[in-house]
């Protein structure tokens, strides 16, 4: 028995085209990573990672202050976003069908679609303009504003994985909602919540526009939070568009460092998620 060969051939051709398109997508990723590695590796050294930038032409410049600046601002952002986001997620988990919950979810989705540039403009107008200072604090807050909706949405998903079976057992023992959240739901979902935070941090680490508009940049070590601060993405931008070859190669080096950090965070998160799924027997 045989069906029309024309149908078979047509299907095969279409499938091949789809395959080629997918290969293109994968190929592009390879291309990008390849160039970053090739041009960035040369610039990396211990001095590079630990020293301050030097004037153009002078050897030995580094990204030390940018690394620390990024870390501090991400830290500030996380300090804002993690408690806020998880608390909001707890609300969404406890009252999933309420009006406030649907509105909040909607707000989070809208917020996560807002260009990061706008968040930068927001914090700039709110904090930098009135005080006439660019500051690490403002930069941290901008990152925090970016991270909060993401953490809220991902945390809600993670909290929902705690089955109603266990929750009801807890209530049946006479526990209050607060106790149940504190002693059952949060600990059980802790792994998933961590993954959500890690992904948000990975996103924040790569943000340029909100940090550029609020913390500007700096060529010195950060001494207090009310000063402008250097950050990795802003450094990549400023050095990248500069006309100086040694700054440009430093930009590649910094890009390699940034991409490595971000990719590692993403890969580890994925690994944790599949590990967690396997533990649950999925």
């Amino acid at each position: 028995m045989a069906s029309s060969p024309r149908r078979k051939i047509y299907g095969l051709l279409a499938e091949i085209v789809c395959g080629i398109f997918s290969a293109t997508s994968a190929f592009v990723l390879g291309l990008i990573l390849y160039f970053i590695a090739r041009r960035g590796l040369g610039a990396i050294s211990l001095t590079f990672l630990t020293s301050l930038p030097t004037p153009v032409g002078q050897a030995g410049g580094g990204i030390g202050n940018a690394l620390i600046g990024s870390a501090i601002m991400i830290g500030i952002g996380a300090l804002l976003a993690v408690p806020w986001g998880i608390t909001a997620a707890i609300f969404l988990d406890q009252h999933p069908h309420s009006r406030l919950a649907s509105l909040t979810r909607f707000a989070c989705r809208v917020l996560s679609g807002v260009p990061s540039l706008i968040i930068g403009l927001f914090v700039f107008t709110l904090l930098v303009l009135p005080t006439r200072t660019y500051s690490a604090l403002a930069g941290g807050i901008a990152l925090g504003v970016m991270m909060t909706p993401l953490i809220t949405l991902s945390s809600e998903t993670m909290l929902a994985t705690v089955s109603s079976n266990w929750r009801e057992a807890s209530y049946a023992l006479g526990a209050t909602k607060q106790q149940t959240v504190r002693m059952l739901i949060l600990p059980t979902a802790a792994g998933g919540l961590t993954v959500g935070v890690m992904l948000a941090i990975a996103l924040a680490a790569g943000q340029t526009a909100p940090v550029l508009l609020t913390a500007l940049t700096s060529r010195f070590w950060l001494e207090n939070l009310a000063q402008p601060a250097a950050s990795l993405p802003v450094l990549i931008y400023t050095y990248g568009i500069s006309p100086f070859p040694d700054w440009q190669s430093q930009a590649w080096g910094a890009a390699l460092v940034l991409v490595t950090i971000v990719l590692v965070l993403n890969i580890v998160s994925q690994a944790l998620v599949s590990f967690g799924n396997r533990k649950k027997g999925m």
Partner: protein, 318 residues
């Protein structure tokens, strides 16, 4: 022994807990409103000075304090649409391949690669675009278009490497993962028994895709495309590094231009008073447009599909 009265678990046993959590949620709502309000306030001087004419004026003169958004709006539109035209088919085809066609050993690597593409920061895309993509375009496709089709205004040279084409191409790479991921999710939602039903009629795999999977994914795919478009409109850093930063109406694909986002990044550090307010007004428009596009995308992509029901009448599952 029930020493505690049964009525002792009143609302106060929960303490401030419900209030605190509700507050956290409400503050998120306030945040959206707050962002809009703050940016609006900053944009107000420009708004009251230029009104809606801001959108069609081509002036941008800090000396005379005349600002208009037409060139950058057009630049944003052209680059975003170009990106969508490239990334749309590519992304949907990749999603079809990964979800329906790929042998299982290829499935994880390809979707992994696409997810990693999404994780690369935009400034790194910009760097790569500036030093790898732009030179290639300048001497490769750009030169080709200039030499062979340069008589058409849309391909008029000189091929500089930076410009609308490069920005559109770079944006396409950046929005590809968004489109692929959401399209995959939509297709995964097609119920198994519909696929089996057409299979049982004697259809090939491709026929199943074309006659059942894709028609039932139509609105979801449109949502995915809109989401990609929204991202392309709002992208600032990568675009500003490869678009050439020329605040003019873009006529040729090979010419340098400017988008709303890239203009803001460019002029921001040195802007004051009315110029700053105009930049903020641009930002406000970006906020409104991307929010509308994203809301439409979410509504389209997450709408539940029509479900067969027992009752008569035109019942669509809700």
């Amino acid at each position: 022994m029930l020493t505690k009265k049964l009525t002792s678990h009143t609302k106060s046993s929960e303490g401030l807990f419900p209030l605190v959590t509700a507050l956290a949620a409400a503050l998120l709502l306030a945040l959206v409103g707050g962002i809009f309000w703050v940016v609006l306030r900053g944009a107000w001087p420009a708004m009251s000075t230029f009104g809606l004419g801001f959108l069609i004026s081509t002036a941008w003169d800090p000396v005379q304090n005349l600002y208009g958004a037409a060139p950058v709006m057009l630049g944003t539109l052209v680059t975003a649409l170009l990106a969508l035209m490239i990334a749309g088919p590519l992304g949907v085809a990749t999603a079809v391949y990964v979800n329906e066609l790929a042998p299982s050993y290829l499935r994880r690597p390809i979707s992994f690669a696409v997810e990693l593409l999404a994780a690369v920061p935009s400034v790194v895309y910009g760097l790569w675009g500036l030093f790898v993509l732009a030179p290639w375009i300048r001497t490769g496709p750009g030169a080709f278009l200039e030499q062979n089709f340069g008589f058409l205004p849309i391909f008029r040279g000189p091929s500089l490497g930076v410009g609308v084409l490069t920005a559109g191409l770079l944006l396409a790479i950046m929005i590809l993962p968004t489109i692929t991921a959401l399209t995959r999710e939509v297709m995964r939602g097609i119920p198994l028994d519909l696929r089996e039903a057409i299979f049982a009629l004697g259809a090939t795999r491709w026929e199943m895709i074309v006659r059942v999977v894709l028609p039932n994914s139509k609105t979801g795919i449109m949502g995915a495309l809109l989401l990609g478009l929204g991202r392309a409109i709002g992208e600032a850093m990568a675009v500003t590094m490869v678009i050439g930063n020329a605040n003019r109406l873009p006529i040729s694909l090979l010419a340098p231009a400017q988008t709303a986002a890239s203009l803001i990044v460019n002029e921001f550090p040195e802007a004051f008073d009315l110029q700053l307010s105009s930049l903020l007004l641009l930002g406000l428009w970006l906020f409104i447009i991307t929010s509308l596009v994203n809301m439409a995308a979410i509504w389209l992509a997450y709408r539940p599909a029509p479900v067969p029901t027992e009752q008569g009448g035109h019942a669509h599952g809700k």
